[in-house]
């Protein structure tokens, strides 16, 4: 694997312009001050209670995601390209989902294979022919982007269902401003604090046409046992909307109401952080106690907006991902601004052969998996792991894709031995309303804290950083 691109320091030792202020500041710091600030940050995070439950760890129900005090810095020009690419990506996703549940032109054109849609568990037959308010399906998208050199950003994964992590973006900024006011005074950093206003404006803009001028928006959470519950309560608080669970809502005559101390109150938009399967026991899993019985009928009647729409998983499925460049051209007639990682689809015999012959240099992913589980990084996996995966891939090829191991860019990060480069990715949040697309500059930067590690997932020891987009 080639040497990773470092976002601060070039191979000749010179510092890239966006980082010159940071570099200078680091040079002026008294010793140990960063370590002190690091510990302060941890105390603050513990006090605010921002935690993350890690699945599969019985002894650690909740823990802090490590926070790195050095910001990741993106220049204005770099952001401009990213922003245009993200907008294009999300416009594509919305056009595609509308078509999949509508005319299915893209299937007829043979661009996406029919079985990949119809036999995909995340495809929702119930959405077929269903109108959604303003024809927008994905109001909140989290597009995972990685960088490999000075000019190239790849989309690693689209998250079009219930992307999380935005609370970290906001908390990270808040804590950085508290810890390092002098560093902010040396830079013009684009603000992110208005994310909550932007989200609320987006959600209100997609209310059903029949709703009142000031639509009622609620956040529907599965409850305190969900790993992202902290974020749900955090966002509801920032947005100034009610945080509800399924039992707080009820349906009467295909209209959604919330139980309040003053009686029933009509609900127009539900920012739901519950998976499709659990939304409505009368339409989906009959054993779901988290959802609202009759919600789908109200939705189908056009009386409520679900955000995101039901069935949007058909856009962020890893097998569908590999078709995104063609999908972009099909709907927009444009070349994709952000590249896709080259992807081998094991469902295709020639691709499968290549993958099996090159397992030791590829990243193999389960099509429906997420969060980095069961995802060996080829060059770092031992022989036994590779052999196990070979058998798994062979037994059910259509369940896997494979990608080359990317040399993700690195950023300076505070670790035990001092400041050292660590690999990062970026999840910007793209908001699509009926009026416009809104993107708060930056997003959530995740960093792999282990030396050499490419796994940034918080469930596997990744941390986060504040992400700065410079205004000049």
């Amino acid at each position: 694997m080639s040497v990773a691109f470092d976002e601060m320091t070039l191979p000749d030792g010179s510092v890239r312009p966006a980082y010159s202020g940071l570099k200078e500041w680091l040079g002026s710091l008294p010793p140990d001050i960063l370590d002190l600030r690091r510990r302060e940050a941890e105390v603050i995070f513990r006090r605010t209670g921002i935690t993350f439950a890690v699945y599969g760890e019985a002894d650690a129900a909740e823990r802090l995601i490590p926070f790195d005090v050095l910001p990741r810095i993106i220049s204005k020009m770099e952001w401009e390209t990213l922003r245009r690419g993200l907008e294009q990506r999300v416009r594509t996703i919305n056009a595609y989902i509308k078509d999949i549940y509508g005319r299915r032109d893209i299937l007829r054109a043979g661009i996406v294979p029919e079985d990949l849609i119809f036999q995909n568990p995340v495809f929702r037959p119930e959405m077929n022919g269903q109108k959604v308010p303003h024809d927008i399906y994905v109001h909140v998208a989290g597009i995972d982007v990685v960088r490999v050199d000075a000019d190239t950003f790849y989309v690693l994964e689209d998250n079009a269902r219930t992307p999380s992590g935005v609370s970290y973006m906001l908390e990270n900024r808040e804590i950085m401003m508290r810890l390092f006011p002098e560093l902010f005074s040396r830079h013009r950093v684009a603000p992110v604090e208005h994310y909550a206003d932007e989200l609320l404006a987006t959600l209100k803009s997609v209310a059903p046409l029949t709703s009142s001028a000031d639509p009622v928006v609620v956040l529907l959470s599965p409850g305190i046992y969900n790993s992202a519950y902290y974020e749900h309560s955090f966002l509801a608080d920032k947005l100034g909307i009610e945080l509800v669970e399924g039992r707080d809502l009820l349906i009467k005559g295909e209209v959604v109401y919330m139980r309040t101390t003053e009686g029933l109150k009509r609900v127009d938009v539900i920012y739901r952080r519950i998976d499709d399967d659990f939304l409505d026991p009368l339409a989906f899993r009959p054993d779901s106690a988290l959802g609202v019985p009759g919600l789908m009928a109200a939705y189908q009647a056009g009386n409520v907006t679900l955000s995101n729409a039901v069935g949007t998983g058909i856009a962020d499925d890893k097998a569908v991902y590999s078709y995104m460049p063609e999908i972009t051209k099909f709907y927009l007639g444009e070349e994709p601004i952000l590249k896709n990682v080259p992807t081998w689809r094991c469902r295709e015999p020639e691709h499968l052969k290549y993958v099996l012959d090159h397992l030791d240099e590829l990243v193999v992913k389960e099509v429906h998996g997420s969060g980095g589980y069961g995802m060996p990084i080829g060059p770092r996996a031992d022989k036994a792991t590779i052999a196990t995966f070979r058998a798994k891939v062979k037994s059910n090829p259509r369940n896997f894709i494979a990608q080359p191991t990317l040399a993700l860019s690195t950023c300076p990060t505070c670790v035990d031995e001092g400041i050292a480069p660590r690999h990062v990715d970026l999840r910007p949040f793209v908001l699509t309303g009926s009026d416009k697309i809104r993107i708060v500059p930056g997003g959530l930067t995740r960093v792999a804290l282990q030396k050499g590690s490419l796994v940034v997932n918080s469930s596997q020891g990744g941390g986060t950083k504040d992400t700065w987009v410079l205004d000049t």
Binding site: E114, D115, F118, Q119, F123, P125, E126, M127, N128, G129, Q130, L250, I251, K252, G253, E254, P281, L282, A283, P286, D287, P293, G294, A297, Q300, A301
Partner: protein, 274 residues
Amino acid sequence: MHIRISHETRYIYDTPPKGVIQTLRLTPRNHDGQYVTHWRIGVSADCRLDRQEDAFGNISHAFTADGPFDELVVTVEGDVETRDTGGLVRDAIERFPPALFLRETPLTTADEAIRTLAQAARAQAPDNDLKVLHALLNSLNETMTFDNNPTQTSTTAAESFALKRGVCQDLTHIFVAAARSINIPARYIGGYYQRNDLIDQDAGHAWAEAYVPDLGWVAFDPTHGVCPTESHIRVAAALDYLGAAPVRGTRYGGGGEALGVTIRIEQAAMQSQN
């Protein structure tokens, strides 16, 4: 044949509920083999029935009723004119291409045993899907024993097939799972079955449809080991029971619910006098 149906679903509550919400799939539509001459649905409680067409083209009615009430009765009454089409289902409402019906669901996931059953049927006529489906129909009819004790509405195809016992819903799930496992699109049909020996019944009926190139959708009734005739009234089509269930609902509050279903299906006089 002219068939008259009256179907009553009665819930009796020990403690009256505060409210009830239900989705009904109880309204048949026309196709080549059946013509609905008259149909009405009623609910004992004071409520509005909201009619929709679901994603598969079935007619559904949703209602919410405010309690308290000691009992709730949903009644369906209607007349359907049927004719024997040799199992062919033409001019039914289709909202998806056949390929959708290769989709597995939790209730219709084929396990090793079901796949083996399907492959044995396939081996009998490798190039003729219709013969394969008939072989599947016969072997299911022979190996399965009709028994309404061991299974419930949540029983999967694999569970029922392991028991070799089940009701029409279970047999249909197994048939559908087996057909899909050998790449034949298949779907679940909920409806009624008119019998000459039994006018008053306590349950609806279920059977399968499978897609055969050049013929289209063909119906198979694994419970009776036949292709449906003029005695079958088709009400709802879906991927499995959950999508075609006559009633899906829940109640708020209350308790001690007893459910009674009475279905009267009779061949009506050739001409009604009114």
